[in-house]
């Protein structure tokens, strides 16, 4: 029996998210055009909201499930193991963290009526409640409705249908949808003027859960790589018999295990430093695993339809969510 990765957070939540993500990937794989995939993602996103996952972190008295970080992480791990192409972390974890203390909006979120994309990177300015500037490649639900926008320490809620707000959509390398926001004095609602701490907390939570998703994707990718090498015959023998390839896979496995250790430590003690180190390591270990997987799949690794390629691209993308490795290094060095 070849390798089967063990989840960090096994259980019903993990399994449900995993099944959802696997079914999602199977359906999406049949669709050639980005527009067709976006339409399918919209259907899947509604199904995900039906499951109540947007309310996982929302308190019970706001209509949510009142779940813990580990409950949310179990969903992220299950979803990550099949590289779910939907903004689970952004909408179901980062958004409610930003909205802490806003019971009405939290209730809207839990009910699936508020589906905001989240803009934490700079580039937007605010003047008397009007937002201007550009934000590029912002992860979004399939049908964009609102944006939660951080401008320095202030947090705004923006209706994307309002005058002065425009956007175009793209598909990321991992198949998720993004917006390029173009704001020209778009009126927005100031939710909090001094939300610096909760913005930082939300970004850290996003970074941690991106790591969780990526760790899960790496486990699956390593399994698929091993399966492929066992199956694929060249020179009259299985590729799995070649030591150069076996050693690469051993290195992928150790990099994955090492990152898993960091992520487990950060889940146990989710403080800034632990998360920054985990995310920093994801930049190195994730990139390594993704590159090696493509390499040992040979020509097949260059094809877009290969499931392993999709996982590899998800892992590559995860590094850039909520602060890449250099951003993590910068804040670790600044704190030293």
């Amino acid at each position: 029996m070849a390798f089967e990765p063990k989840p960090m957070l096994p259980g019903d939540a993990h399994d449900a998210a995993r099944r959802f993500a696997e079914a999602s990937a199977t359906t999406l794989a049949r669709l050639q055009e980005p527009a067709a995939r976006a339409a399918e993602l919209a259907v899947q996103w509604d199904a995900l909201l039906e499951l109540g996952w947007a309310g996982m972190l929302v308190p019970e008295d706001c209509g949510g499930a009142g779940g813990t970080l580990l409950d949310m992480a179990a969903l992220a791990e299950g979803a990550g193991s099949a590289a779910l192409a939907l903004p689970l972390v952004a909408v179901c974890a980062v958004a409610p963290t930003l909205l802490a203390g806003q019971p009405l909006l939290l209730a809207e979120l839990a009910a699936g009526r508020l589906q905001p994309c989240v803009v934490l990177a700079g580039g937007i300015t605010a003047e008397t409640g009007r937002l201007s500037g550009r934000a590029l490649g912002v992860e979004t639900p399939p049908v964009p409705g609102h944006a939660l926008v951080a401008v320095e320490d202030a947090l705004y809620l923006l209706d994307l249908g309002t005058a002065g707000a425009g956007f175009t959509r793209h598909e990321r390398i991992d198949g998720r949808l993004t917006l390029d926001l173009e704001l020209q004095g778009a009126p927005a609602r100031l939710l909090a003027a001094d939300a610096g701490a909760s913005i930082a907390r939300a970004r850290d939570l996003g970074a941690l859960l991106s790591c969780v998703e990526a760790v899960a994707a790496m486990g699956t990718l390593i399994r698929q790589t091993i399966d492929y090498l066992l199956q694929r015959q060249q020179f009259g023998t299985a590729l799995a018999s070649f030591q150069a390839l076996r050693h690469r896979v051993a290195e992928m496995y150790v990099a994955w295990r090492n990152l898993t250790g960091l992520v487990q430590a950060a889940l146990r003690t989710p403080e800034e430093r632990n998360i920054a180190f985990a995310k920093l390591r994801l930049g190195e270990a994730g990139r390594f695993v993704a590159e090696q997987a493509i390499q040992v799949h040979g020509g097949m690794g260059m094809t877009e339809e290969l499931p392993a390629t999709r996982l590899a691209r998800r892992i590559l993308m995860a590094e850039f969510e909520w602060g890449d490795r250099h951003a993590q290094a910068a804040r670790l060095l600044a704190a030293a």
Partner: protein
């Protein structure tokens, strides 16, 4: 007290002991990344033994502490955090447990006390010129003559043989059977006639490994551990006991701290900003990897506590730390190499290495190359991991 509070109290007790009782001149050698020898280890072992902490991994009835794996892990961690030497392992961690499990009452009475007190110094006669990673191919032969074995052959990479009293030695007693089934474990005094120890000059300029030549050395049969031709089993028992050795990442963290201080000190000038930032970045990458390894180490300790199999954990630990520590050594080399690597050996004075400031960093860089070679090379570890992952 609950378990957590007990362990915290234990940690504090060990720390207090380490900081007050380990002689400053010994801790200074560790803090300067110097090479440890019997001169530092033996007095430290004597102090630990006098306190009842001579053998953390041995059962109480043989003079050990009887600590569980968690306490042993904390003990090792705290010693490293306080710049105390790790305990010299050949007697305590390698031979001791084998003696306890397979030795005769006479052997235990003769050898265990000297290991505990640090009076007897042991080295390991395993590797040979033709038997490195493939240890079972060893050729040093022992021929039975009455109540003695006559041992002839050569050992190599024998660490600390030049300061040891005894060598536990794998020898071939039967060349006709499967290689692993013709090996015997003998305890050989290094002052026996026919033994010659010669220094192997290594790239770090430190004297730590040797060649040991055995020419018709007569060893009493009473110095044989267990049965003839069962030495491989005992040797494997010994290595299995050592599989958690990599769980203690604390020394690597101290090494990282020292390297970080070096980088800050060496590259403080404004003109060095780019280099300093690059090295600081590489230090962060190394720290991240060590933090991951520390978690794997903790998980391994907990697996032992729960009686679960370690599986691939020892290989994961080795592969997660060995080249990370090498990379830290490389960062230090990048910091001082231009200034120090250029002044490595004195020309007009005696002594193997120049006495220039920070030369230990260059020596350590060289020494650390061995990290991925000894104790099962990284290539062997990857073979182990791959075999498990592929199921073939």
């Amino acid at each position: 007290m609950d378990e957590t509070a007990e362990l915290a109290a234990f940690r504090a007790e060990v720390r207090d002991f380490a900081l007050t009782r380990c002689p400053p001149e010994i801790r200074a050698v560790v803090a300067a990344n110097g090479k440890l020898g019997r001169k530092q280890w033996a007095p430290w072992q004597r102090i630990l033994h006098a306190h009842g902490w001579g053998a953390p991994s041995w059962p109480k009835e043989h003079g050990g502490t009887g600590w569980d794996q968690r306490r042993r892990h904390i003990f090792d961690e705290v010693l490293a955090e306080c710049d105390c030497p790790p305990q010299y392992h050949h007697g305590l961690r390698h031979l001791g447990p084998v003696l306890i499990a397979f030795g005769t009452e006479e052997q235990k009475a003769r050898f265990l006390p000297g290991i505990l007190s640090g009076e007897d110094w042991w080295c390991q006669g395993y590797s040979e010129p033709g038997a490195g990673s493939d240890l079972a191919s060893l050729k040093t032969r022992a021929v039975r003559e009455g109540e003695e074995y006559v041992v002839t052959g050569q050992k190599l990479w024998t660490s600390h043989a030049h300061e040891a009293d005894w060598m536990y030695t794998l020898v071939r007693t039967n060349a006709e059977v499967k290689r692993q089934e013709g090996i015997t474990l003998l305890l050989i005094p290094l002052d026996a006639p026919g033994i010659r120890v010669r220094e192997v000059r290594t790239i770090d300029g430190w004297h730590h490994v040797n060649e040991v030549f055995l020419d018709a050395v007569r060893v009493p049969v009473a110095n044989r551990i267990g049965e003839e031709n069962k030495g491989w089993t005992y040797g494997k028992f010994l290595l299995d006991r050592e599989r958690l050795g990599g769980a203690n990442v604390a020394p690597a963290f101290r090494f990282l701290d020292r390297c970080r201080a070096l980088v800050a000190r060496e590259l403080a000038a404004p003109g060095q900003a780019l280099k300093r930032e690059q090295l600081e970045y590489r230090l962060l990458l190394a720290e991240a990897e060590l933090r991951g390894a520390r978690e794997l180490g903790r998980a391994a300790v907990e697996a032992v506590m729960a009686g679960e199999p370690l599986g691939l954990m020892p290989s994961e630990l080795k592969l997660s730390t060995a080249d990370t520590v090498q990379r830290i050594g490389a960062i230090a080399l990048d910091a001082v190499g231009e200034r120090v690597a250029s002044r490595f050996r004195p020309v007009d004075a005696s002594g193997p290495n120049a006495e220039v400031e920070d030369i230990e960093w260059v020596q350590n860089f060289m020494y650390l190359r061995a990290k991925t070679i000894f104790g099962g090379s990284n290539e062997v570890q990857k073979n182990v991991v791959a075999k498990q992952l592929f199921g073939m």
